[in-house]
């Protein structure tokens, strides 16, 4: 017994050492990623959360004022309306992008001629910056010189489309511009899904005499569900990140009528010297994103693994 222990201990040590040596280059290669995770994805995130419990104004201070900043946050009209705007925007934008993207994918899937041309047209806005999108739509929707004026000159003097300067409707113009940019993305992803459907499945539906629209609704749509869920998550994350488009298109106006949380955070951090308040808003944003992601991660990654076991 003693002998065995005596010989096996150095052997184990040697094995561990050679294993370590063979993994060493890989470990070194992972250092940049590790640094990014430690300093940014964990460090900066924790720092922001910490600041949300402090009274920091222009510079960060590390006192502890409990939930004061959060209390203040939910008493701040700018933040409350921002939250409301982002909810309205989010629902309309996600629903609109999914519906238009799905329809485009289905229609393109009908073996149309010039398929490549159509796809290129529907997807090109996605290649551009939100800043470009915002500026174009800001100009196009300009009530004095843009679309409204043109339609009026065409002989519809009572035509009115001044949403971009209308406090109650400006959010809808953001929705339009954002759908214009993202519908092609949804189309491209769903089209890939449609093309992945087994050709024999389509043959089976023809033998069974199922009408085409019914095939899409009852058979294809359920097949695409996981894909739709993933796309919805992508769009939802884009909603939480919504900043550039607003800055370029409406600057949050008129008044506060198109303010959004991401912009509220940026303004408080870098312009209004309200670091504590900005950090609290950022933390709320983080919690919202996490609560959107959690069920999806569970459904897509954790549950399937359990089922497999």
């Amino acid at each position: 017994m003693v002998d065995v222990a005596a010989t096996s201990a150095p052997q184990a040590w040697l094995r561990a050492r050679s294993r370590l040596l063979s993994q060493l280059p890989a470990a070194i290669a992972l250092l940049p990623a590790a640094a990014a995770v430690v300093f940014v994805y964990i460090g900066a995130l924790a720092w922001t959360v910490r600041l949300s419990f402090s009274s920091s104004k222009m510079l960060p201070v590390f006192d502890f004022v409990g939930l004061n900043q959060y209390q203040r946050l939910f008493g701040t009209e700018r933040f409350v309306v921002s939250t409301w705007h982002i909810l309205v925007f989010g629902i309309l934008y996600i629903a609109g992008s999914l519906i238009i993207g799905f329809l485009l994918a289905v229609f393109i899937d009908q073996r149309v001629r010039l398929e490549g041309v159509f796809r290129t047209i529907f997807l090109y806005p996605y290649a551009m910056s939100f800043i470009v999108t915002g500026l174009v739509w800001q100009w196009f929707l300009n009530p004095e010189l843009g679309l409204q004026k043109t339609v009026r000159d065409l002989g519809f003097p009572s035509f009115s489309f001044d949403w971009i300067v209308d406090q109650d409707k400006v959010v809808f113009t953001l929705v339009i511009a954002a759908i214009w940019q993202s519908a092609g993305l949804v189309m491209a992803i769903l089209l890939a899904g449609l093309r992945g459907v087994d050709a024999e499945l389509w043959k089976a539906t023809r033998i069974d005499a199922i009408p085409t629209w019914r095939v899409y609704v009852s058979i294809i749509l359920p097949i695409l569900t996981p894909m739709l869920a993933t796309v919805s998550i992508l769009l939802a994350v884009a909603v939480a990140k919504l900043y550039d488009l607003v800055v370029a298109m409406t600057k949050g106006g008129p008044g506060l009528s198109s303010e959004v949380p991401a912009k509220f955070i940026m303004d408080n951090f870098f312009e209004r010297s309200n670091v504590g308040l900005g950090a609290a808003a950022a933390t709320i944003l983080l919690i919202s994103v996490a609560s959107i992601l959690a069920p999806w991660i569970y459904a897509e990654h954790i549950r399937p693994q359990r089922v497999r076991k």
Binding site: A127, W139, L285
Partner: protein, 295 residues
């Protein structure tokens, strides 16, 4: 003649209502999608006098390239009147090192995570992935503080580092998925032959990586060129990228806006990603399918 044709050969084809409505729908939507591009181009070639008439959809009657020249070299942001050209070159200076560095580090990370079992690598990967979903706003302020304390704030190096850090999740995911699909026997064979970490990467893995390198380049070039918030926050006055400059030109105008110049500047800014898009064709679609995480 009342004889009905005996069914024989192919079914007689007719352009059905269904078929027509498919094309009708696609064409109408396509036109709607093209309108903003059309407006942008048309406006950029009009004179201000013509723009004041308000025919936003009309092709320019008196065609002029004056707005383009102005947009490039003399449009004003506040007091400085240098056009978007400075921004253009700033963006190029940011773009090149950021794309190279982020792809290099991303592929290295993906390679190490796929073929080696370093303890903690999996945790690292999961955190990176989650990080891709979190809005930048959550990290930005502390990052600014960190960068100013080590002198990276307001510098080209600073903005490049930021792009690499925030590009890392997508790049790692891309390369890890790609390498994960390669046959592991390739790696094992090279290892049995005695090749080390870098030798395997250089002689076995990289030569097989061209498709994913193209996809990664497309994603990073468009992504970094289109970035606004990181450039705004980290690049500082002297390195402001084109998107930031463009927004300043358009949205900080005093008095009547020069819409033709604005639109010309906007097109110039969109030109690089649009060119990448049109020339890369299916690669772009492959990219968004692979990296749909970007959001």
């Amino acid at each position: 003649m009342s004889a009905v044709a005996v069914p024989q050969g192919p079914r007689p084809r007719s352009l059905s209502i269904g078929r027509l409505s498919v094309y009708g729908f696609l064409i109408v939507v396509a036109l709607c999608f093209l309108v903003p591009l059309w407006v942008m181009i048309a406006t950029s070639f009009k004179t201000m006098d013509e723009i004041r008439l308000g025919h936003v959809l009309a092709w320019p009657a008196s065609f002029t390239i004056e707005p383009w020249l102005k947009a490039w070299s003399s449009a004003c942001t506040g007091l400085a009147c240098d056009g978007v050209k400075i921004g253009f070159w700033n963006s190029v200076r940011i773009l090149i090192p950021s794309v190279i560095a982020s792809i290099a580090i991303g592929s290295l990370t993906g390679y190490a995570m796929t073929f080696y079992r370093v303890r903690g690598a999996r945790t690292l990967f999961v955190i990176l992935l989650l990080g891709a979903f979190i809005p930048y706003q959550v990290f930005l302020y502390p990052l600014v503080r960190m960068f100013s304390s080590i002198g990276l704030y307001d510098s080209l190096t600073g903005i490049v580092v930021v792009h690499v850090v925030f590009g890392l999740p997508l790049m790692t995911l891309l390369f890890r998925n790609y390498y994960g699909a390669l046959p592991i026997e390739l790696f094992n064979a090279a290892r049995v032959d005695g090749a080390g970490f870098l030798a395997i990467l250089r002689h076995v893995i990289l030569p097989m990586s061209s498709p994913i390198l193209i996809v990664a380049t497309i994603l990073q070039v468009t992504g970094i060129w289109n970035d606004f918030i990181l450039g705004l926050t980290f690049a500082g006055r002297s390195n402001r990228p084109m998107t930031v400059l463009l927004n300043n030109i358009v949205n900080s105008t005093q008095g009547e806006a020069a819409y033709n110049v604005d639109m010309a500047a906007t097109i110039i800014t969109a030109l690089v990603p649009l060119a990448v898009y049109f020339f890369s064709g299916r690669w772009f679609v492959r990219g968004i399918a692979a990296g749909a995480v970007k959001g």
